[in-house]
């Protein structure tokens, strides 16, 4: 193996406001090697790579390329130093051909000639074993073909260091194998490759070394040949941290929600939820853990009536009086009126549930505008509810008539969760309610959930932080690629155990493939 160092990071840190995205990260990549960057969601992998590719600028630390210290201020600078990144979300112009996309923005003195571009694209493809038609339009391409275009685009600009952000997330196992074959060829050609992933078996199959990040910090690097899944999992999730979140014992445990054989597919026909069956009880918090995109969103939306569930799926809801009601086929409003509430905090926080330009009172009204006897909307109740939420949850705002988009993230989340709780639901589903919140606001949300639990509400909590899930939930259900890989007791669960369950389905999928 070539031992020359292609890229070296020293003590890199990046902060977004008070949030630490990366802290004191140092790592090296050698020429002719594939380095896996491993870490959970939110561990700062993508942020770190964005600093190398010129999208963010590091707050502290130094970057060296081929032994020389450099400053990268824009993607153009990164190209200049031979660094190219293939983003998770492709940046391609749909109505252009592959070749037009590849040549876009390339500055050279030669006359613009698409024929020559086509030839060079073919040359690169043949060299590394890609299959690409330079004249094919992007909108006619499959996801895997689009990814190929992105990789060729980077190579066309003469990149010697390639960064791939979760390249396999969108690929089938066969396409993944093809991609890995191409990556190995590039490696033989002397290119340095960093691949961001959280799939352990891929790490083991393709990389030479593994660097692990956890909560923005660099944990260490190991040589792939000398490690195993268990060791990597432990590095990735870390030792358990005591959080001192209250966990009262479940009260009045009765069946509230019985989900059986729930199956969903996305627009492309890919199965997002695969035959999911579980039960939720009153007076307990059921946690849902999983890598992002493992089906959490689809599960909650299918129960709330927002997502189409495939025939054969049943969601049975048991009312206070003990009657059984089938939820599938009902409208979201009917489901909500029966006492099943959903509060989903998306990545941009405002995207679902609240209207940014409206004030707190009007946002309360979104759920009650059908009430009232006169033809005019009823404003009194929503207004008093907004005041109540503001006071009880200590929402920091100039007043209930300030547009919610002007509130800080934590306060927006309090409004969102507060409104759902105010409807006094029987089943309360919350997804990522503490996303981006500081510690105090997080604890306030936890105690709100515990309060609901003690009232006999069945709480379903989708979380990102395993420590929180273990400390807060009575039971934890783990999803991986749309399947349930296990339901564990929150009191006895370990992070390692859950971590393995979160990645288990990938291994199962591999086995399935080998059998078939």
């Amino acid at each position: 193996m070539n031992q020359e160092i292609a890229l070296e990071l020293k003590h890199i840190s990046k902060y977004f406001g008070s949030v630490v995205a990366n802290k004191d990260v140092s790592l090296t990549v050698r020429k002719g090697e594939i380095l896996s960057l491993l870490g959970e969601n939110g561990s700062g992998k993508t942020t770190l790579m964005n600093m190398i590719s010129g999208i963010y600028f590091p707050d502290e630390g130094q970057i060296f390329v081929n032994g020389k210290e450099i400053v990268i201020r824009s993607p153009l600078d990164a190209f200049h130093y031979g660094i190219g990144m293939v983003h998770q979300h492709f940046k391609l112009v749909d109505v252009f051909t592959a070749a037009q996309n590849i040549v876009l923005g390339v500055k050279d003195k030669k006359r613009f000639n698409l024929k020559e571009v086509n030839e060079r694209v073919m040359e690169i493809s043949n060299r590394y074993g890609f299959h690409i038609d330079p004249k094919k339009k992007i909108y006619d391409m499959s996801v895997s073909e689009k990814q190929t275009v992105e990789i060729v685009k980077v190579l066309y600009r003469g990149a010697d260091l390639l960064i791939l952000d979760e390249p396999t997330a969108v690929l089938t196992p066969q396409e993944t194998e093809k991609l890995f074959a191409v990556l190995r060829k590039m490696k033989e050609d002397g290119k340095a490759i960093i691949i961001i992933t959280h799939k352990l078996h891929e790490v083991l199959s393709v990389s030479d070394r593994v660097a692990v990040l956890r909560k923005g910090e660099y944990i260490g690097s190991v040589v792939t040949a000398e490690t195993n899944e268990a060791e990597l999992t432990e590095m990735m999730v870390g030792k358990r941290i005591e959080l001192n979140i209250d966990r009262p014992d479940p009260v009045d445990s009765r069946l509230k929600l019985n989900v059986e054989h729930l199956t969903c597919k996305n627009k492309e026909g890919v199965t997002t939820l695969d035959d999911v069956s579980f039960k939720a009880y009153s007076g307990e918090i059921l946690g849902i853990a999983g890598i992002s995109g493992a089906g959490q969103k689809e599960l909650l939306e299918a129960i709330a009536g927002l997502e189409y569930a495939y025939p054969g799926s049943t969601v049975t809801y048991v009312t206070q009086e003990g009657e059984e009601e089938e939820l599938i086929g009902l409208s979201p409003k009917e489901i909500r009126d029966m006492g099943v509430a959903l509060s989903f905090v998306p990545e941009d926080r405002l995207g679902m549930g609240l209207v940014g330009s409206m004030d707190m009172a009007d946002n309360m009204m979104l759920k009650s505008y059908t009430k009232g006897k006169t033809p005019f909307v009823e404003r009194k109740d929503p207004t008093s509810l907004a005041v109540k939420i503001m006071n009880e949850l200590e929402v920091v705002t100039p007043g209930i008539h300030t547009p919610v988009s002007r509130l800080s993230g934590g306060n927006v989340q309090k409004v969102l969760v507060g409104r759902e709780i105010a409807a006094s639901p029987q089943v309360l589903m919350v997804a990522y309610p503490v996303r981006g919140l500081d510690i105090n606001s997080s604890y306030l949300i936890y105690s709100l959930l515990n309060e609901q639990k003690q009232k006999g509400v069945s709480v379903i909590f989708v979380g990102e932080d395993l420590d929180v899930l273990i400390a807060l939930c009575d039971r934890i259900m783990v999803l991986a690629s749309g399947k349930i890989t296990g339901i564990v007791d929150g009191r006895t669960a370990t992070k390692e155990g859950i971590g393995l369950l979160m990645t288990k389905n990938e291994a199962m999928r591999q086995e399935d493939k080998n059998e078939s």
Binding site: I55, S74, P75, L76, F79, K91, L92, V93, D94, V95, F96, Q100, N101, V103, L104, G105, V106, K107, F112, K137, Y139
Partner: protein
């Protein structure tokens, strides 16, 4: 018949300027509904430039008159386009609202400016109509002897040929050059263009300004060439109507400047059709005037149903671009 076809081309040229201007602007992702107002401003500027020169010189030179008119038309239209660009690109205002405001302003401004400034110059209205007929109406000397063909294709003033040259150059630029490729990328997906190292803001500004200047020539063309320099009180409102049709024409010609040449002549023919058909009632005239709009709606329906990606508007048309929103 030959007179009708010649007039159709002459009128079509006005549409062609507006259509090319709007096409270039839309290719950068900006729907400029200010084009009618900008065309009016171009007319006012052109009359002003020509008027100042004509009233201050004893024996005006035809070439200089036309050149000055073109320069001032571009300047006035470009200034108004600059306001639109600043508001929508830098301040990220809503493009539709900004465009409509520009149109309302431009129409009123042109009406005021022509009446209170241009026509108060000494002898301006006589001199302008003289220049309109002798300079802007000066056609190629050799080909007017070619009979019917000569009358239809070669009996036009310099602005008509300028329009066709601009249209062909625009088509070549969009299809064959790196600048064209970059411009289309900016209009389709500014985030992609930005990541590829293209200066998105610069491209937007340049092509909004260039597009506005070209559209301004349409206003000039109407007053000086089609009307023969007769500056009446309804100039602004007529140009405004032409401006709206030019925007419709962009849709009709599927954002392609070469198709725009044919499309604009067709629109020109449809627009003046009612004047050349004898024995139609007032109501029938109004119905005939509806035809260009109906044709546009039909084309819009057909292209939407067929759904071919190349024939759709630029994907980010009408959307402001924030770099931070990745």
């Amino acid at each position: 018949m030959d007179i009708f076809l010649a007039k159709a081309i002459e009128f079509g040229v006005i549409f062609l300027f507006g259509c090319i201007g709007e096409t270039l602007t839309e290719k950068s992702g900006h729907l400029n509904l200010g084009i009618p107002g900008i065309m009016c401003a171009g007319a006012a500027g052109g009359c002003f430039g020509a008027g100042i020169y004509l009233t201050s010189v004893e024996n005006p030179n035809g070439f200089v008159t036309v050149l000055l008119a073109i320069l001032f038309a571009c300047l006035f239209a470009g200034l108004l386009g600059g306001v639109y660009a600043f508001l929508t690109v830098s301040l990220r205002c809503n493009q539709n609202v900004t465009g409509l405001a520009i149109t309302i302003f431009g129409v009123g401004f042109a009406s005021f400016f022509i009446n209170s400034v241009v026509l108060t110059l000494e002898n301006a209205s006589t001199l302008l109509s003289m220049a309109g007929i002798n300079f802007f109406g000066a056609y190629l000397p050799i080909f007017d002897k070619m009979g019917v063909i000569g009358t239809i294709f070669f009996a036009h003033g310099p602005l008509a040929y300028l329009a066709i040259v601009i249209a062909i150059l625009s088509a070549l630029m969009l299809r064959k050059t790196r600048i064209g490729l970059n411009l289309r990328a900016v209009g389709e997906s500014p985030a992609t263009a930005d990541a590829a190292g293209i200066n998105v803001t610069l491209y937007k500004y340049v092509f909004i300004l260039v597009g506005s200047a070209i559209a301004g020539l349409g206003g000039l063309c109407y007053v000086m060439e089609y009307m023969g320099g007769i500056v009446g009180s309804t100039v602004s409102s007529t140009i405004e109507g032409i401006g709206w049709l030019s925007i419709a024409l962009v849709i009709f010609t599927l954002w392609k400047p070469d198709l725009a040449i044919v499309g604009s002549f067709l629109f020109g023919a449809l627009y003046i059709l009612s004047n050349y058909i004898t024995g139609v009632t007032f109501v029938q005239t109004k119905l005939l005037n509806l035809v260009p709009y109906m044709v546009t709606v039909i084309v819009l329906i057909i292209t939407s149903v067929r759904g071919k990606k190349e024939n759709q508007p630029p994907a980010s048309l009408g959307l402001s671009y924030f770099r931070e929103e990745r």
